[in-house]
Every structure is written in structure tokens, then in C-alpha cells.
Amino acid sequence: MDWINVLVQGALAGALYALFAAGLSLVFGVMRLVNLAHGDLIVLAAYLAFTLVSGLGLHPLLTMIAVVPLMALLGYALQRGLLNRTLGQGILPPLLVTFGLSIILQNGMMEVFSANTRRLQVGTLEVSSLQILPGLSVGWYPLLVLAVAVVLIGLLQALLYRTRLGAALRATSDDIETVRLMGIDSRHLFAVATGLALAIAGIAGVLMAAKTNFDPMAGPSRLIYAYEAVIIGGMGSLWGTLAGGMVVGIAQAVGGAFDPGWQLLAGHLAFLLVLVAAPRGLFPRAVN
């Protein structure tokens, strides 16, 4: 049993989960909204990439040029047009509306793309690997995903802590009423946050499409991995989310190494364990 290998592969797989989670974490931080359709939106992005690849013959990773702006616009419109109406009336409306949205997306994609599983081909990138140590080689693609995750989270941190928009987003998570006293239109701000979140989901979706098989019903499990990454990492911390994603990835790799049937279960059990032992997560943001 090559434990180092298992750990490394798991950590790299977890980087993708962190990308799933980043958008979710942002939206919840800003407006206390968990979008139950988040996983389905990631799958939608994957299908968008698939459409562009089969229609235009683009290299899958290049589809991001179109997919990311499309998803960003979709996110803005979704928040402004639908989700803003669910805010401020308790937890039920956002949950139930996004749940309905999830069902609509899954079945819509089923209608348009059929239930067949898909996967995008990235050519040699998929199988080529880098030998780090004797007996330990890591694929270039997982490394790419990790790099993207690190860069993206770094950018998001920079946005949140070094820009005016970021300050506005953080202030909104503190006190939405007083934010309006700053002359900030919160409806627009929420929509920007969701647009950002879905742009990240778009990147995650395209990267996922080349790495794993996906089908219209794959959304909920992406949502769960994202959610587990956020909880394990600790709410309010983006780097914590990266760590959380890696924990899930590693747990799944370890479980899967024992028995393929245990792969998913191991991830869930790691989540439950953290919930018992460290309910605020491994790296929670300090609360004032």
C-alpha cells in the first residue's frame, strides 16, 4: 500500500473540491444563502463546455473563455432576477427555491443532453505525469487543477481584502442594513457576488469535465463535496476551504484504496468526524 501516493492523489483531487466550494463559500458569507443548485450549475458549466467542444471543436480548457463569462452573467441574472426575492424572509425560501431550481436544472439537462455520461478529452495532458520522487509520480492535469485552485483562491482573497468591492462584500456579511447607508445597492452587490461565484463554478465545471465522467444528475454529489469542504475547512476561510477540500479528497482516496465501495463513504465519515470533534471546522475565521 503506497500511502504517500494515495495521500498525494487525494490531496490533488481535493483541489477540485475546493474549487467547487469556493463559490458556495463566498455566497454564503455574503448573503447567508446556500444555493442547493450550486452543484447542478457546475454540471451545467461542464455541459456548456461539452457543447462548445462538440460544436466548435475547441480544446476543452479553451472553452473557459466562453463558459466563464456566460456563467458569470447567468449568476448575476439568477441572483437579481430570482434569488434576491428569497432573501430576508427566513431560511425556507432560499432553500426551497434553489432546491426547485436544482430539480429544474437536472431535468432540463436530461432533456437536452440525455442521461449518457460524458467526459471531455484533453489529450496527452490527461495521462502525462511528472515524476517527483522514485515511485511517486503525479499527473500534470491534477497539478494544473491544484495550481488553478491556489491561484483562484489567492485572487479571491486579494479581491476580498484589497479591493473596494471586497470591502463592500465583507461589510455586507457583517451588516446589510448599514451597508446601504454607504450608498451601496445591495441587490446589485449580491448579484455581483453570485456572478463571481458562478464564474468560479464555471472554471470548476470545465476542469471537472475533463477529469471525471459526468451526467445530468451529478450535481447533488458535487454540492455535497463542496459543502463538506467548507464545513471541514471552517466557515469564513477560503484557504481553510482548500484544506477542507483536500481532507475530503484524501479521505476518499484512503477509503477507495481499501475498497472502491468505501470511497464516497470515507469522505462523508471524515466530514461527520470533523463535525463531532471540531464543529467550527479546522481553520475557522476568528469571530469578533
Binding site: L95, S102, N107, I224, L264, L265, L272, P279
Partner: protein, 350 residues
């Protein structure tokens, strides 16, 4: 108080003005009871099966409504207890060879016991995070049950023939037995939720739903109340689960813990009927089955329509169909609210 909708107002006034509304209500209840009790005499198998299905969905809807609409615990994981109830029943039958009917209450008991540590774990999560957490727990059950080869692993098991015969030797009698049990379960669930809501406990629940911190500051032990509701709901859900799979004669992980069947459809029913209202689940279940009968042939489009309808209701009519109806007619079929006598003299509880 002016009501500009004259026909509805006069109809409602006429209903109220009838002598002894209480007697009318009792008569209505008796009629309904006789109707359902006599059903096996005048209906065929498919109608009975439909009735059983409607009963189980209605029961689950009432329970989810209690949990989410009154206690504020929006659980996306009730399918955990449905499946658990089913599996306990099948395990019981397989290991003891006794009649499945004895397994029904056992399912409820086991579900209630399992609910305790589950609740203690899940209550660390709030609001939407509680919802997804409960979903994860159900997923864990599903994956675990796929690993238990004793119970058929991933493909599941069927109820052994001896057990099937233990319910009743004859196929038609079996249907009737399960039908009556289903009716009993629905009535029992109804009684449990209604009694709960009419009691002081129910007041505490509504207070917690409206504002947990305010309720706590008034001396309500919110943790205790939520725990009690969660366990009671799990108990009933487990029983319903065992009944469902008793009827199906077969259980598998995907069917047992299906979020579409045991949560999504239930949620839609409750939302369309009217979440947080006592009458809502009845309307919602009826509408759900109507829609299914009319549109399920459209496959994915039917589900898309269902989702869109639920969204529409949540945004435009958050109290569902019953909310719309009761606002116009100022009626309450199953009153649980306490209103000052001088303000609303008609709203005296039964």
C-alpha cells in the same frame, strides 16, 4: 373588518351560521371515516394501492411539515429514516422469520433511537447547513446499506415468501391488511402532529420557528423541543418507511434512500399545499397526485414543471394553496390557533 369578496364571505358566513358547526364537523369526519373504512368493499386492487401510496405520502408530508414548517428544522434527509425503517423491517423478517407486521413498530423504534445521536450531531449545524448535513447523513445510510451484503448489498433483497404469507395467506387480503395499516398510520400521524401542535408544546414550536432566540429568552428549552420533534418525526417516518417497503415487497439502497421519492416530492407537496399550515399537507398531497396523474407521462418536463410550480408558490404564495383559500374564506378546517374571543368569535377550537 370588511371582506369585499361577497360570495365567499357569504358562503363562509352561511357555514358559520349553521347551527352547531361542531356537529357538522363531527358528521363530516364520520362520513370521511366510513368512506375510507369501507373502501376495500367497493374498490379494486389498483385503487387500494393508490390509496396506500397516497396515505404514505400524506403521512410523510405531515411529518416534514411539522419538522420544517413548525420546528424550523428544514431536513433534506428524512429519506434516511424512510429507508432505515424499511431495512429494519426486512432485517427483522429475515433474521427472526416472524410476521412483518410485528416489524412495523420496531422500525419506528429503531428509527427513533438512531435519531438521537443523529440529532445531536446535526444540531451543531444551523439553517441551510443543517439541511445539507441531513442530506449527507442520508447518503451515508445509503452507502452503508450498499455495503451490507447480509441485506442484499447494492441490489437489495426481496421479502421472503414465508414472510409475505405471514401477513395474510391470500393476495387480496394482504392488500386489505396493508391498506388498513396505512390508514391507521396516517390517522396516527395526523393525531400525533395535531395533538402536538395544539398543546403548549406546539406553542413552543411556533415560537421557536418565529424566533429561536426570543423563544429561548422566554424560557423555552429550544434544544429539548427540537430534539423531541426530531425524534417523534423519525419514529413516525420509520414506521411509514417500513410500510412503504412492505407494500413494495422489495428494498434496495437507491429506492430506500431516494431523495427524489422521499424528500423532493414531499417538499413539493407541502410547499404547494401550504407549509407551516395544518391543512397544507392534505391539499398538497392531493394536488401532487393530481399533477402526477395528469402530467407524469411528460417525464422530465413534468419534474421541471413541478419544480417551477414549487418556486412560484414559494415566491408568490408562501402559504400555499391552503393559505390562499383560507385568506379568502377565513376558514380553518383544523384550528390550532388561540384567538381572543371578542375578536374572532367563530374561531373556537373544536
Amino acid at each position: 373588518m370588511s371582506n369585499t369578496n361577497l360570495p365567499a364571505a357569504s358562503l363562509a358566513a352561511a357555514i358559520r351560521a349553521l347551527p352547531s358547526v361542531t356537529a357538522m364537523r363531527i358528521a363530516f369526519v364520520v362520513a370521511v371515516f366510513l368512506f375510507f373504512a369501507s373502501a376495500p368493499l367497493w374498490s379494486d386492487r389498483s385503487v387500494l394501492h393508490l390509496a396506500i401510496e397516497m396515505a404514505t405520502i400524506l403521512a410523510l408530508a405531515m411529518l416534514w411539515n411539522l419538522l420544517a414548517g413548525y420546528a424550523g428544522l428544514v431536513s433534506m434527509g428524512q429519506q434516511a429514516f424512510v429507508g432505515l425503517g424499511g431495512y429494519v423491517m426486512f432485517a427483522f423478517v429475515q433474521e427472526t422469520g416472524l410476521s412483518p407486521l410485528l416489524g412495523v413498530p420496531l422500525s419506528g423504534l429503531v428509527a427513533a433511537l438512531v435519531a438521537i445521536p443523529t440529532a445531536l450531531l446535526l444540531f451543531r449545524l444551523r439553517g441551510p447547513y443543517f439541511a445539507v448535513g441531513s442530506w449527507v447523513v442520508a447518503e451515508v445510510y445509503r452507502l452503508l446499506s450498499s455495503q451490507v451484503t447480509l441485506l442484499g448489498g447494492g441490489s437489495g433483497i426481496s421479502l421472503p415468501l414465508s414472510a409475505v404469507r405471514a401477513i395474510a395467506p391470500d393476495k387480496d387480503v394482504r392488500d386489505i391488511v396493508i391498506y388498513y395499516i396505512a390508514m391507521g398510520v396516517v390517522c396516527g400521524t395526523w393525531l400525533m402532529t395535531w395533538t402536538l401542535l395544539r398543546s403548549r408544546f406546539g406553542l413552543a414550536l411556533t415560537a421557536i420557528r418565529d424566533s429561536e432566540s426570543a423563544a429561548a429568552s422566554l424560557g423555552v428549552d429550544t434544544k429539548q423541543v427540537k430534539l423531541t420533534v426530531y425524534i417523534a418525526t423519525a419514529f413516525a417516518t420509520g414506521i411509514v418507511g417500513s410500510l412503504i417497503f412492505l407494500g413494495k415487497l422489495r428494498i434496495s439502497p437507491d429506492a430506500a434512500f431516494s431523495i427524489q421519492d422521499w424528500t423532493a416530492d414531499i417538499i413539493f407537496s407541502v410547499v404547494i399545499g401550504g407549509i407551516g399550515t395544518v391543512e397544507g399537507p392534505f391539499f398538497g398531497t392531493a394536488v401532487y397526485f393530481l399533477l402526477r396523474w395528469a402530467f407524469s407521462d411528460f417525464g422530465s418536463w413534468y419534474l421541471i414543471g413541478l419544480g417551477a410550480t414549487a418556486i412560484g408558490f414559494m415566491l408568490l404564495a408562501p402559504n400555499g394553496l391552503w393559505g390562499l383559500l383560507s385568506k379568502h374564506m377565513r376558514l380553518s378546517l383544523f384550528p390550532i390557533r388561540r384567538l381572543l374571543d371578542s375578536v374572532h368569535r367563530v374561531h373556537d377550537p373544536l
